[in-house]
Amino acid sequence: MSGFLTTEAPQPTSRAHEAPFLVVDSLSVRFPTHDGLVKAVSDLSYAVHRGETLGIVGESGSGKSVSSMAVLGLHDAKTTRLEGSIKVGGQEVIGADEDTLRRLRGREVAMVFQDPLTALHPFYSIGRQIIEAYRIHHDVSKSEARKRAIEMLDRVGIPQARSRVDDFPHQFSGGMRQRAMIAMSLVNDPKLLIADEPTTALDVTVQAQILDLLQDLQREFNSAIIIITHDLGVIAEMADEVLVMYAGRAVEKGRTKELLTHPEMPYTWGLLSSVPDVAADTSEKLIPIPGNPPSLLNPPSGCPFHPRCQHKDKVPGDLCYTTLPALEPGRRGPNHLKRCHISNPDAVYEVDVLPEMGEDSAGHAIREGMAVPDMDGTTR
């Protein structure tokens, strides 16, 4: 990686002819606890094609991590109630035996965790951990695996990979650890990479490096990526498709550009307006979403967002309190799904939400990126 990386997302080509690599169909995850049944994920469906990126956004406890851990079969079968279907490359994950799952993990599906310091074993060298991951799925000698590990570390941008391969995790900086994690997860050329808050623990400059790396690698290996984050900025720059989760359910789903420019669900509006923008008017107050996320032990009746929703008066009767809205297309075409009773979300967004955010109804006047001229020798 050198100089300026002017990257563009892969073009959203029509992939209708190709079967999606991952299909999650009406997935429910429930954990029985002393206090009752925690409904961590309810009726979640999505699909990811190879070469595409799905972004999952939501607050902590909205079920984003739980659902993606289910894809890897990481939940304890004895204490978790899983329903629905998860198909990875045609292979059903739910109910699969441990041997099948083991062949899947790391080889077909790999995961990058949020905190690389706790995800890496402090007692083994980075190289040894990558070699182990490689040799589990490939019948190769240690020296061959070591060569492969060095190659991967080099590929993710670790300087002097040949000598750093024997370093321990604590000898790496945060960004390098995350790179090492990515090297480890990519060593088997997985077809699906799940990145669970891959950059949350990192500084913005390092975050930019890691996100670039992920995109480069995606182009190279044509893998599918699921990126889980609470940062809409990351989603906007990385994802082809977005899934917004709230209280264990998908509440909005669509192509990134479409969803972030014409959001149709009050929770998404709230997320967009509560984050200060680096270019927004500073005299404006931030508009927070009132209240707190609901308990999943006892989710609210009707629409799970109704206790915090500021637009429920726009729905006739007490529909919001009694009936769970279906996840269905709104007025903006069949690919933009939302779970909301409001019948004219576009108008509400333009009239009520955008002015509050300090934008006019033309709204999406896009700030131009920093004019970055060609400058050679940036890498020095």
Binding site: M1, S2, G3, F4, L5, T6, T7, E8, A9, E59, S60, S173, G175, M176, V204, T205, V206, Q207, A208, Q209, L211, D212, Q215, H230, D231, G233, I235, A236, E237, M238, K257, L259, L260, T261, L271, S274, V275, P276, D277, V278, A280, T282, K285, L286, P288, I289, N292, P293, I366, R367, E368, G369, M370, A371, V372, P373, M375, T378, T379, R380
Partner: protein, 421 residues
């Protein structure tokens, strides 16, 4: 270098808050942590130069933002101000006293004036104490209200921060993250401080809750006239909260300016890289990634920082002088100081080092005989006179022409050069 009297038009329009006397003035503050050798003697072998000579002021009732990456020393600076750490060198002038030199006993009456809000609302509240005890303890320690009035005051404070005053008997674990942060804020407000050091007050909270807490802090500031040192790594939050922002890198302030200048016309390469790295929601309408400056490698170790400019190992503008001379924090605008030899907007760096006159050295950074660095370079705050980059540029362009061939840098004209962000 030219010292320019700014014309009236250059003065910022609203100067009401900014020009009030500073509540706290930090001069050349240093904190070096010793690194001990292993073995019995545990001799000090080197130092982590966590904070290495920072100077700034916080205006009365105003707020200064402190941004930078992890490990740049911003939290250490905050903890020095509250004297949770002892100062290695430098001054902290607060109400006529130098906090850096006070003993713990002398510090005691002043502790109520400077309070702190911590990052992690889970570990900063004692889980075995009720909210009433947590918020009431500072009141009792400092004896500000009679014992039988403590509870009333606690309820009042809980109400101020938007919690139910009847919940004083609950324990922290019964509250959510955002509510806990409110408890921390109530505790900090209990003594009616004049300065609040907020160390990453919202970064541990969910996005939808962050806005609630930021708004609360703004209300508190307006209502009680408290000055804030707002430490955060989230550039957007800092911009929202602070009219003035300082950027730190490896223990030093590299750029300090009013919000509009810093975010729209940064003159230091590191600030530019930091700003361009922030992912932007609005990018969704364009698609793909924003064009950005990629910094190579990692922040160098503060145990053995690079010579000269600390950013030079990752800087695309770096030249010989950057390794030889540390750039001073030079004032280049009415409210704008920058530490860069080649200060300038992103596509328009200064062709000739702007710091030669004040440092008394030549273009390669060698000290000229008989010249001493300007003594007032590390003074905090802003002066009415400053070094004007345009004038400097015109002058050096003139010199360049007369010494054609001897200069290493190309002459660049400045018209239409301001096409940055």
């Amino acid at each position: 270098m030219t010292q320019t009297e700014p014309s009236a038009s250059q003065q910022p329009a609203s100067t009401a808050v900014r020009d009030s006397a500073p509540i706290i003035e930090v001069v050349n503050l240093k904190k070096w942590f010793p690194v001990k050798s292993s073995g019995v003697l545990r001799r000090t072998v080197s130092h982590v130069q966590a904070v290495d000579g920072v100077s700034f002021t916080v205006p009365k009732g105003g707020s200064l933002g402190l941004v930078g990456e992890s490990g740049c020393g911003k939290s250490t600076t905050g903890r020095l101000l509250t004297r949770l750490y002892d100062v290695t060198e430098g001054q902290i002038n607060f109400e006529g006293k130098d906090l850096a030199k006070l003993s713990n006993k002398e510090m005691l009456p002043l502790r109520s004036e400077i309070q702190m809000i911590f990052q992690d609302p889970y570990s900063s509240l004692n889980p075995r104490h009720t909210v009433g005890t947590i918020v009431g303890t500072p009141l009792q320690v400092h004896n500000v209200v009679p014992k039988n009035k403590v509870l009333d005051r606690v309820r009042e404070l809980l109400e101020v921060v938007g919690l139910n005053p009847e919940h004083y008997n609950r324990y922290p674990n019964e509250f959510s993250g955002g509510q806990r942060q409110r408890i921390g804020i109530a505790r900090a407000l209990a003594l009616q401080p004049k300065l609040l050091v907020a160390d990453e007050p919202v970064s541990a909270l969910d996005v939808s809750i962050q806005a609630q807490v930021v708004n609360l802090l703004k209300d508190v500031q307006r209502e009680f006239g408290i000055a804030f040192l707002f430490i955060a790594h989230d550039l957007a939050v800092v911009r929202h909260f602070c009219p003035e922002v300082a950027v730190m890198y490896l223990g030093k302030i590299v750029e300090i300016a009013d919000r509009d200048t810093l975010y729209n016309h940064p003159h230091m390469p590191y600030t530019q890289a930091l700003l361009s790295a922030v992912p932007d929601v609005k990018q969704a309408a364009v698609g793909g990634r924003r064009q950005r400056i990629m910094l190579e490698g990692d922040v160098p170790s503060p145990i053995n920082p690079p010579s000269g400019c600390r950013f030079r190992t990752r800087c695309w503008r770096a030249q010989e002088i950057c390794a030889n001379q540390e750039p001073p924090l030079l004032q280049i605008g009415p409210r704008h100081k920058v530490a860069c030899h080649f200060a300038g907007e992103i596509d328009d760096p200064s062709p000739v080092p702007v710091t030669l006159d004040v440092l008394g050295c030549d273009e390669r950074g060698n000290r000229l005989p008989g010249r001493e660095p300007h003594p007032e370079l590390s003074a905090p705050g802003f002066l009415p006179t400053y070094n004007d980059l345009e004038t400097h540029r015109r002058r050096s362009a003139a010199i360049d022409v007369s010494m054609a061939g001897t200069s290493t840098t190309a002459v660049r004209h400045t018209e239409g050069g301001k096409s940055g962000k």
